[in-house]
C-alpha cells in the first residue's frame, strides 16, 4: 500500500480524496438537514457547462467552472426564493440546460480529445499540481467559512423563519451556503466527477444522521465517513482500475447501509411498531 504512494499522481490523488472527503461531508451535513439535495444536484450538473466552456476558450476548465458554478448556484437560489414556479421544476430546467450547453461547447471545439469520462466520473490520473493548490485553497476556504458561520448555519438549517425573526440575515446566509456548495463541487470535480459529487454531498451526512441526535457529532461522524470513503475508495479504484468517483461513492454507500441497518433511530422505530 505504501509503495503506491511513491507515484506522484497517487500522492496528488490522495490529497484530493482527503480534502473531498472532508469538505463534502461538512457541507453535506447542511445539504441533508436543510433538504438541499436536489439543489445540490442542480449546482453540480451545471458545473459541466463551466468545464466545457473552459475547454472551448482554451482556459483552465476548473478555473472557468468556478465563476460558472457560483453564478448558477446564485441563479438557482434566486429562482427557488422567488417562488414563481416550483423549485424542483426550476432546477430541472437549469441543470439540463447547463449540461446541454456543455455538450454544445465541447462539440464546437475542433478535434476534441477531452477526457470527458474523467470529468463526469472522476479519475485518479486527473489531478495536476496546479489543481492541488486550487482545491486546497478552496477546500480550506469553505471549511473556514463554515467554522465562522457555524451557529448561523445551524439555526438556518433548523428553522429559517425563526432565524429571520431573530435578526439573522437569512437570505444572505442561504446564498452563502449555496456558494459553499458550488465550491465544494469544484473541489470534487477531478477526483469524484460532476455526476457523482452529489452522492458525496448526501451519503456521509445521511449515514451520520442514522447514528446520532447531536449536530456537532453528526458533522464529525460525517467527516470520518467521508474521509474513509475517499481514501479507501481511491485505493480500491487503483487496485481494480476503476473510475475513482464511482468507487469512492460506492464505498460511502456501503458504509451508509451498514449505518442504516444498525441505526438506533431505526431500532427505536421497530420497537415502537411492535408495541
Amino acid at each position: 500500500m505504501i509503495d503506491i504512494l511513491g507515484y506522484p499522481f497517487m500522492q496528488r490523488a490522495l490529497i484530493a480524496a482527503v480534502l473531498v472527503g472532508i469538505v463534502c461531508s461538512v457541507v453535506g451535513t447542511y445539504v441533508v438537514l436543510k433538504r438541499l439535495a436536489f439543489i445540490g444536484a442542480g449546482i453540480s450538473h451545471s458545473a459541466f457547462g463551466g468545464v466545457a466552456l473552459g475547454y472551448l476558450v482554451g482556459l483552465s476548465p476548473i478555473g472557468v467552472a468556478i465563476p460558472f458554478s457560483l453564478a448558477t448556484a446564485m441563479a438557482i437560489g434566486w429562482v427557488s426564493r422567488k417562488g414563481k414556479m416550483p423549485e424542483d421544476t426550476a432546477i430541472g430546467i437549469f441543470f439540463a440546460s447547463a449540461m446541454a450547453l456543455g455538450v454544445l461547447f465541447i462539440g464546437l471545439r475542433e478535434g476534441y480529445n477531452v477526457d470527458l469520462f474523467g470529468y463526469l466520473f472522476g479519475s485518479i490520473l486527473a489531478v495536476s499540481v496546479s489543481d492541488i493548490w486550487l482545491i486546497l485553497g478552496l477546500g480550506l476556504g469553505v471549511i473556514a467559512v463554515v467554522l465562522l458561520l457555524f451557529k448561523e448555519f445551524f439555526f438556518l438549517s433548523f428553522d429559517e423563519e425563526m432565524a429571520a425573526v431573530s435578526g439573522l440575515p437569512t437570505r444572505t446566509l442561504y446564498f452563502v451556503l449555496l456558494a459553499l456548495m458550488a465550491l465544494t463541487v469544484i473541489v470534487s470535480i477531478k477526483i469524484v466527477g460532476i455526476i457523482l459529487v452529489e452522492a458525496l454531498l448526501v451519503i456521509p451526512a445521511a449515514a451520520a444522521y442514522q447514528l446520532t441526535r447531536n449536530f456537532v457529532r453528526m458533522m464529525l461522524i460525517s467527516v470520518l465517513i467521508g474521509l474513509v470513503s475517499g481514501v479507501l475508495g481511491l485505493f480500491l479504484s487503483y487496485w481494480w482500475d476503476l473510475a475513482s468517483g464511482a468507487t469512492i461513492v460506492l464505498t460511502a454507500a456501503v458504509i451508509f447501509f451498514v449505518c442504516f441497518l444498525f441505526s438506533p433511530r431505526r431500532r427505536k422505530r421497530r420497537v415502537a411498531a411492535e408495541q
Binding site: L33, F154, F158, A163, V165, S166, Y209, R213, N214
Partner: protein, 260 residues
C-alpha cells in the same frame, strides 16, 4: 396615565397575489398589555403578526414597533419574541433542547461570535422559567407536544424580549395544558414586564386570561376589554354568522356557532 405604545399600526393594508389579507387595520398595543387577537380561520391573524415581526411588508400604511419600522429595528430586534404556530420544524433535527433555547440569543450575540458563559446562563434561566430545566440535554424530538411548546417559549424568552407574540399556541394541547399555558404566560408577564399578544381562534379560553381582546376579520372590528368585545352583535360582525354566547360567571365560557 396612558402607558407607552409598543406597537402602532395605521391604515395597514396587505394582500398576497391580489387576495386581500388585511384591510385598513389601525391598532395600538400598549406596554404590558395582554392582548388576545381573535378571528375566524383565514382572517389575517397570522399576517398581522408577521407584519409586526417585519416578515411581511404592508402594501400601504404605517407600522411602528418600539417607535421604529419593524424591519429597521437593528440591534433592538431581539426585543420582539415570537412563538410560531406548532411548527413546521423538523422535530427529528439533531438538536438538544438547550441548543434550541440558545438560538433565541443568536440575535443578541451577533454574527460570527460564540455564546459566552453569560449567554448560557440566560438560556438556562429561560428553561427554568418554563420549568424545563431538567430537559436541557434531551433531543427536541423526544419531548411531548406541550413540552416542545414550552421550549419554544424559552427560546423566545432567551432573547430577553419586551414584546411576546404567540400564533395559535394552544393548537394540539389539551384543555388542562391550555390552562397551564395561560397561567404560565401571566406569571412571565408579571416577572418580566412583558407585553403579550396571543393569536387564537379559541375565544372562550383566551378571554378568561387576557386584559383586552381584538377581533380581526381582514379589518379590525374592536379592541377593548373582553366583556365589551364579547357581545353577540360584535361577534356576528366578525364571524359573519350568529354566534351564541353561553355566559358562565363573569365572562362567557363557551361559544356556540350556528352556521346557516
Amino acid at each position: 396615565m396612558k402607558r407607552p405604545v409598543v406597537v402602532k399600526m395605521e391604515d395597514v393594508w396587505v394582500s398576497f397575489d391580489g387576495n386581500l389579507a388585511l384591510k385598513s387595520v389601525d391598532l395600538e398595543i400598549e406596554q404590558e398589555e395582554f392582548l388576545g387577537l381573535i378571528g375566524p380561520n383565514g382572517s389575517g391573524k397570522t399576517t398581522l403578526i408577521k407584519v409586526i415581526l417585519g416578515l411581511v411588508k404592508p402594501d400601504r400604511g404605517k407600522v411602528e414597533v418600539f417607535g421604529r419600522p419593524p424591519d429597521k429595528l437593528g440591534p433592538e430586534r431581539p426585543l420582539i419574541g415570537y412563538v410560531p404556530q406548532k411548527s413546521q420544524n423538523d422535530w427529528n433535527f439533531p438538536v438538544s433542547v438547550l441548543d434550541v433555547v440558545m438560538m433565541g440569543r443568536y440575535g443578541r450575540i451577533g454574527l460570527v461570535k460564540r455564546p459566552s458563559r453569560a449567554d448560557w446562563d440566560i438560556a438556562r434561566k429561560a428553561l427554568e422559567d418554563v420549568q424545563m430545566q431538567d430537559s436541557g440535554d434531551r433531543q427536541l424530538g423526544q419531548l411531548s407536544g406541550g413540552q416542545q411548546q414550552r421550549v419554544m417559549i424559552a427560546r423566545a424568552l432567551a432573547s430577553q424580549p419586551k414584546l411576546l407574540l404567540f400564533d395559535e399556541p394552544a393548537s394540539g394541547v389539551d384543555i388542562q395544558g391550555e390552562e397551564q399555558f395561560y397561567s404560565l404566560l401571566q406569571t412571565l408577564k408579571k416577572e418580566r414586564e412583558l407585553t403579550i399578544v396571543v393569536v387564537t381562534h379559541d375565544i372562550a379560553v383566551v378571554s378568561s386570561y387576557v386584559e383586552k381582546l381584538a377581533c380581526l376579520n381582514q379589518t379590525l372590528y374592536s379592541h377593548a376589554a373582553p366583556s365589551e368585545v364579547l357581545t353577540a352583535d360584535s361577534l356576528k360582525k366578525v364571524y359573519g354568522c350568529e354566534v351564541e354566547l353561553l355566559a358562565h360567571g363573569r365572562i362567557p365560557h363557551r361559544v356556540v356557532e350556528e352556521h346557516k
